[in-house]
Amino acid sequence: MVFSSISFLFFFLPLLFLVYFLAPKRFKNYVLLFFSLLFYFFGEKWYVILLITSCVINYLCGIFMERFNKKAFLVIGLFINLGLLFYYKYTNFFIGTFNDIFGFGIHTLSVVLPLGISFFTFQNISYLIDVYRGDVRAQRNLFLYSTYITLFPQLVAGPIVRYKDVNEELDKRDSSYSLFSSGVVRFVTGLGKKVLIADLFYSMGTSIMKSNMSFLSYLLVAISFTFQIYYDFSGYSDMAIGLGRMFGFNFKENFNYPLIASSVTDFWRRWHISLSSFFRDYVYIPLGGNRKGIFKTIRNIFLVWLLTGLWHGASWNFVFWGLYFFVLLIIEKFFLKKYLKGGIFSYFYTFVVILVSFVIFSITDLSQLFVFLKGLFCIGVTLVNYESLYYLDIYFVLIVVSLVGISPYFKEKLENLKKGKLNKVINVCEVLWVILVFVLSVTSLISSTFNPFIYFRF
């Protein structure tokens, strides 16, 4: 089940509200656990057993780490978590690669990737390491631990919530109109970002890719990839954070206007923060970070970005995507750093390299990727053609609206105005805005299921 679906909005969510807010306080976590498992079951059916098993194993590892041997049960826990992730996500990738390189005829496995496995595996790992380090005490209640892992707002697409960040809220959390309504605003904003903007960029990209391509077409498609991924993913994070607030949880921010970053280093401080901080805290720093000389620093950065690439998908383009950032970060660290201090060059450079990165991210076929990159650098294609100008005209408003949304400028202006005399007017406008975005999003969702059956007839 996804948040941007009619059954989630008008069946799952109202039913959960009803049961959750009527339930006595001591049962609220059980309600959340039950509905989270139901949420997962909707999409993944019997993989819910895998999810429950994973919760039980990690819960036991946490307990056993405190009672018996910390290191042994950390290793066992990591082995099981990474083993499951490898089996479901990477086995076929590696079999395929071996077959390609060595000409083996090994059959691939018929496994379907369980939804959210990358997220809940990383949450389990962060918990085990935190318990190992003594940063948190192991959770004694299996149901509470399972509630943390399966909590539906962050279960399938993050953010990667660390146990130590929600530990207290699992035990005791407040609910108020203020928190709930801020959750609604955040959720609706995310829904709008996903449904009203990201999905249109998807249509834009696919339409243009079908046309005769010029440099401008390639550029527009690269823009559509970038904005689609940003609005889709950050929209989903907004929805997760918003839903968390409705049930009294305060998840950390996952995006901080990454598309206005002044360098790639800055970009990764702002993009998918929960993942980059996971790799920083659980891979980069334990390996020594930048404290053990240049060679080891480069090795550590390489490993982090290789893993970051692979985490995003079991495909070579994701590996290249990670390594692309590795190269850029090394160049920035040792050469470009002094030039990237926020001027026009910084922003332009960052936007261009990010644009290219999302092309690598989006095109899984390497030969197509090569053709696309050639086009994007205006090699062997015309600068503009009629079709690219047509699509620029059609999608101009969408691009402009989206550009407004990648900067905090207007949000900050609004916050300043709220402090002044216009507070009441802005509050009314905010309510109307939320309703408008929600209604438009729902109409768009319904419209996306518009499925005319017209046989080929002319």
Partner: protein
């Protein structure tokens, strides 16, 4: 106060719409989408698999919601087409784009092949009907029609009957891709010049059905007004014997189809691989064989008075290899009559 308003409004909307969805009766068929909707029975058989489809299909005021969304996309984001259909001054125009050289060349190869392998002893002609996108102005994606016609003129080894510039936008249905039947009157004399069927002014009864929605309505997802569909009859047409290879005898005008989701099927009952039309009152032995698409369905009835027999072959539904089992081409007039839509998607034609 603001927080309470947002909270109650949001929760209220979720509950009210959710309850409405399950309380209101199910609608079984969507006229606009031309398909059956998911009903509660399917949810009962597989709750987790079908709930979302059910709730989306049975959403209160679904048609209006889709229509509203189409309009907002058109005016808010200036998205010009929906499902590849443009809305231009009440006309729904299906995009025929981009120019597909492979398909066009394949069309040329196919009709040249049929001509040289099956039609050596026949009088063969071809003609092309422009699709509605021919009339799109600048600012829309439109096929390079000049290139298309130049390619045909260069490579097709068959005599061409030029009706391409005979039509205007108003000759087409607003909500359907096809030409109105009366629009063909203006090209009858052009065809007569080549086919010599003896065109003359005949009297027709004009029949009008007032509530016609063409097939493009289902694609555009927004409300448009219905229009009239006219069909012309006289004693030749009424008494003609029409035999379909698949479903036997039918009338020229299949009036039952007027109430179908696709009322254009009024003309010769819609898609059919092979149709024989015999007019015993023609007073001559003229025969015409037409390789055609659905545009010809409304044109051919007007030819009935002039021929003893007309055979219509739609190669989308029958392989060319099989056609000689049913049709003798020797010494017959043969016309390839296709719209520019088929020329740009000719892989549909089952030749070779």
């Amino acid at each position: 106060m603001k927080d309470k308003v947002i909270t109650f409004l949001f929760v209220g909307i979720l509950f009210i719409v959710g309850i409405c969805l399950f309380v209101k009766g199910d609608k079984e068929l969507s006229f606009y989408e031309r398909r059956k909707l998911v009903t509660i029975d399917k949810v009962k058989s597989d709750f987790f698999g079908n709930l979302d489809d059910y709730m989306s299909d049975q959403f209160p005021f679904r048609d209006e919601v889709i229509s509203f969304n189409s309009v907002t996309q058109r005016y808010l984001f200036r998205i010009k087409d929906k499902n590849d259909v443009y809305v231009v001054e009440d006309y729904l125009i299906e995009k025929n784009y981009p120019y597909n050289e492979k398909e066009v060349m394949s069309f040329i190869d196919k009709i040249n092949y049929i001509n040289s392998n099956y039609l050596r002893d026949s009088n063969v002609f071809y003609s092309v009907i422009p699709d509605k996108s021919y009339f799109l102005k600048d600012g829309y994606l439109k096929l390079d029609f000049d290139r298309l016609m130049a390619q045909l003129s260069k490579d097709v080894n068959i005599q061409y009957i030029d009706i391409f510039d005979s039509f205007v936008m108003e000759d087409y249905f607003k909500t359907d891709i096809h030409l109105k039947q009366d629009s063909y009157f203006k090209v009858m004399s052009v065809f007569d010049r080549y086919l010599n069927f003896g065109y003359r002014n005949l009297t027709y009864n004009k029949n009008v059905y007032e509530n016609f929605y063409g097939a493009s309505v289902g694609k555009v997802g927004s409300y448009v007004d219905s229009e009239d569909i006219m069909y012309f009859s006289n004693s030749f047409i009424d008494n003609a014997i029409v035999k379909h290879l698949e479903f036997g005898k039918r009338d020229v005008y299949d009036k039952d189809k007027l109430n179908d989701v696709d009322s254009y099927n009024l003309f010769l009952s819609g898609p059919s691989s092979l149709i024989e039309i015999v007019n015993e009152n023609s007073g001559n032995n003229k025969e015409l064989i037409i390789f055609r698409d659905s545009f010809a369905s409304s044109f051919v009835p007007l030819l009935i008075p002039y021929y003893n027999k007309i055979t219509m072959i739609d190669l989308r539904y029958i392989k060319m290899d099989l056609v000689p089992n049913y049709v003798d081409f020797k010494n017959k007039d043969v016309l390839f009559l296709y719209s520019s839509l088929i020329l740009n998607s000719s892989s549909l034609l089952k030749v070779n």
